[in-house]
Symmetry: C2
Subunit: 456 residues, 2 copies
Amino acid sequence: MTSQAIPYKIYLSESEMPTAWYNLRADMVNKPAPLLNPGTLQPMTAQELSGVFCDELIRQELDNDTALFPIPEQILSFYKMYRPSPLVRAYCLEEKLGTPAKIYYKFEGNNTSGSHKLNSAIAQAYYAKEQGLKGVTTETGAGQWGTALSMACSYYGLDCKVYMVKVSYEQKPFRREVMRTYGASVTPSPSMETQVGRKILAEHPGTTGSLGCTISEAVEAATSTPGYRYVLGSVLNQVLLHQSVIGLETKAALDKYGVKADIIIGCAGGGSNLGGLIAPFMGQKLRGEADYRIIAVEPASCPSFTRGKFAYDFCDTGMVCPLAKMYTLGSGFIPAPNHAGGLRYHGMSSTLSQLYHDGLMEAVSVKQTDVFQAAEYFARVEGILPAPESAHAIKVAIDEAVKCRETGEEKTIVFGLTGTGYFDMVAYEKFHDGLMSDYIPTDEELQVGFDKLPKV
Amino acid sequence: MTSQAIPYKIYLSESEMPTAWYNLRADMVNKPAPLLNPGTLQPMTAQELSGVFCDELIRQELDNDTALFPIPEQILSFYKMYRPSPLVRAYCLEEKLGTPAKIYYKFEGNNTSGSHKLNSAIAQAYYAKEQGLKGVTTETGAGQWGTALSMACSYYGLDCKVYMVKVSYEQKPFRREVMRTYGASVTPSPSMETQVGRKILAEHPGTTGSLGCTISEAVEAATSTPGYRYVLGSVLNQVLLHQSVIGLETKAALDKYGVKADIIIGCAGGGSNLGGLIAPFMGQKLRGEADYRIIAVEPASCPSFTRGKFAYDFCDTGMVCPLAKMYTLGSGFIPAPNHAGGLRYHGMSSTLSQLYHDGLMEAVSVKQTDVFQAAEYFARVEGILPAPESAHAIKVAIDEAVKCRETGEEKTIVFGLTGTGYFDMVAYEKFHDGLMSDYIPTDEELQVGFDKLPKV
C-alpha cells in the first residue's frame, strides 16, 4: 500500500474503527504502582473505591492484566457520531517549514467539547447509567472535560454536577454556558457547598481555585450524595484505557497506508491524551515489536515530568483522595498563571510516570510564548486554531521537523492535536498584546512542594 | 448500492470531491436580473465593476450561461485541508423524534471560521492574489465571514481589512481576536475612517451599526486604496457559485448510497449557504430531471422572502453599491435585536429571489425562541452546538420530521448545518435566562422601508 497517495485527511471507515480499548498496563513489565488508602497506606481495594467510582470503572482501574476491553455497543454508536477523528497529513506545514519530515496529526477537536475528553466522558457516563446511578460529579479546569461530561450525561439522562476552578469560571463564561446548554449545573470552586470548600475558603479567602482543590470538592459532593459517583477526566488508568481509541485509530490509519512513525509527540497534563495516543505504539515497544521516540511535552511553568519527583502523593489539594505514585510537584503546587488550563495539574498519570521512569519515553518542557508562537503559526498554515494545550505538542513537532530540515532526515512525526482554542481567545489576546508571562518556578519554589510530600 | 448500510457520517474520498463549481444560472429560464448602475440605471458592465471587484470574480458574477467553472488546483488543495465536509445521517435525532423520516445534514462547521464561509473566502482571496492585488476589504456581521476571509488572506499573504458591525465587535471580542490571529485588521463600523462612516455617525451618533452600513464602508475603503478590492461573503452570484461545492458534495454523497432527497432545507440570510446547498438539486429540477421540495428558512424578525418586496434595491445602507433586484425589506431596514447575525440582511440573493418568485422554492419564517429551542434539542441529541443561523434550518427539519411521524411517511430530509455556535454563547445565555426577544416587525414598520425603495 506504500505507493498509494496519502490524502490530506485519513478517515477510517466505521468498520475499521476499533471495537476494543487497549490496556497498555497488560504489556508493562513494571506495572504502575497501586493507589494507596491515605489512612492505612495499603493498596485501595475495589470495595474502598466503590463509594467514589462506578463499579465497572473500578474494575478497569485495577486491572493490570487484561489487554483488550470490548467497547460496549452503545458507546460505539456514540463514537460514530463524532469519530473516527481524522489523521491529518500536514502537507501545508511541511511545505512551509521546508522539511523533508512527514508530519501527521490526530485531530480530536471536531466535537462540541472541543477535545478528546469526550472519548472517556461517554464511557464513564455509560457505566454510571448502567449501574442505575442518578448522577455524577466532576471538576473541570479549562472546561473541556466538564463540557464533554455534560454532553455525555445529557445523552444518557444523568445529572451532571461540575465544579469549575473559579478563575476559569470567571474568565470563561462561555464554557459555562455550553455546559448549561447540555443541562449541567456548574459551581465555581472553591465553594461554600462542601466542607472542604469552606475549609479552603477559610484558610485562603481570596483564592481563585486550583484543579487539586476542585477535585476535593467534587469527590466530597459525590460521596455525600446518594446515587452519585465521582468521575475524572485524566490521570486515572481507566481514562487512559478509554483514550486508547485515539492511538488505535491513529495506528490503524498509518498501517492502512503503510506508514511507520518515528517520533510520537503529545502534550501532557494528567496524561489522558498522551496515554491514549501512544498506547498501541508503546505496546509494540514494550513487546519488542517496534521502536519509537515518544515525547511528552509539558509547560515549563508546571514541569511535573521534567522537574518533579517520582513519589507517592495526593491527587488533590484537600487530601481526601487516594495516594498515587507519580511524577509530582506536590499536591499544594499552584503553577504561575498560564493559559493551558488542562496542563496545570501538579501530578501525572501513574502509568505514564512508570513508563517515563523506566526510560521508555522522553519529556520536554516548553515556554508559554514559544507555545503561542507555534499555535499562531500552525493556525495560519494548517487552518486549525489549536487549544493552548495542543499547541505544546505542535511546538515540539515543529522543532523536530526543523531538525530534520537541518539533517535531511525524512522522519515521520505524529502528534496529537487534542483540541481547538475557540474558548481560549483571552489567552491569544494576551499573546498578541505581549502580556503573556513566561514565569518558570525556581528550584526553591519547587522544594516547598517536595517538602510536603507524604511520607510513604 | 441501496442495500449498503449508511454510516453515521459520509465522507467522500478526495478523488470524489467536485473539481468544478456549478453555476445554477446556466439552467435558469428566467435569469436573475442584472445589477444596475445606481446613476444610470443601466446594467453594470465589467468595466464599471472593476474598481470594486477582482476581474475573474466579475467574470463569474456576470456569466449566466456557463454551467461549470473548473476549481483552480490551488483552491482544491486548500479545500482538502477541511473538505469534504461530512454528510451526517442523524440517526440519533430520528430515534429521539420517533420519526420514520430519514434525516441528513451537511455539516460545514469543522473549520476555524466555524462555517461554510471559507468555501468562497479562499476562492476570492485566490483570485485577488492572482490579479496581483495587495489586499481586500470586507464587512462582517456575525464574524464568520470575516474570520473565513482572514484565514484565506493569511494563506495567500494578502492584507485583509475587515469592517465589523459595531454591536458585534463589542459583543464578540473573541471573534475579533480570531481574525487578529490570522493577521487581519478589524475596525468597528461605522467608523471615522471613511466618508460614509463619518456621514452615518453624524446622522445617527449612537448607532451600533448594521450590515448594510458596514458594506458601504468596506466598499469605500477598497475603492479609495490602490491595490485593494472589495469582497463579499453572500448575496452575489459569484458567492453562490463557490458555495455550490456544498451541494455538489451533498449530492455525490447521497448518490453514492442511492439515496434520493425529498425535502431540502437551508437557512437564508443573503443566500450563500442555501444557494450553494440546493444548486445541483435545483439544477435537476430546472432541467426536469427530478423534483424536490426546497425550503428557505428565515428569521421572523427579518423576513425578506416571506414579507419583502421583489424589487430593485440598494445592497447597502450608504447607497454606494449597485442596485440588485431581490426580495428586500428596504436598504434602511434594521431588524429587531436577534442573535442570528448572518441572517440580518435586508435583502436576498438575486438568483434565489428569482427562483422563489418563479415558484421553484418555498420559504418560511421562524421565531427566535423556537429556533433556540431546536438548537438546544439538537445539541443534546446530535452533539453539535449549532450556530443560531444554522438552527433555523434545524427547526424546520424537525418540524417536517414530526409531520412524517404523524403521517407515517418515510421522507428523506436533507438540511444544511452551516456552522457552530461557539462564539454565540451570549445568545444561548439569553435564551437560558428567558431574556430573548421574539419581536416581529409590524406591517406599518415594513411599509416605511418599502416606501423608500428606489424608483426603478
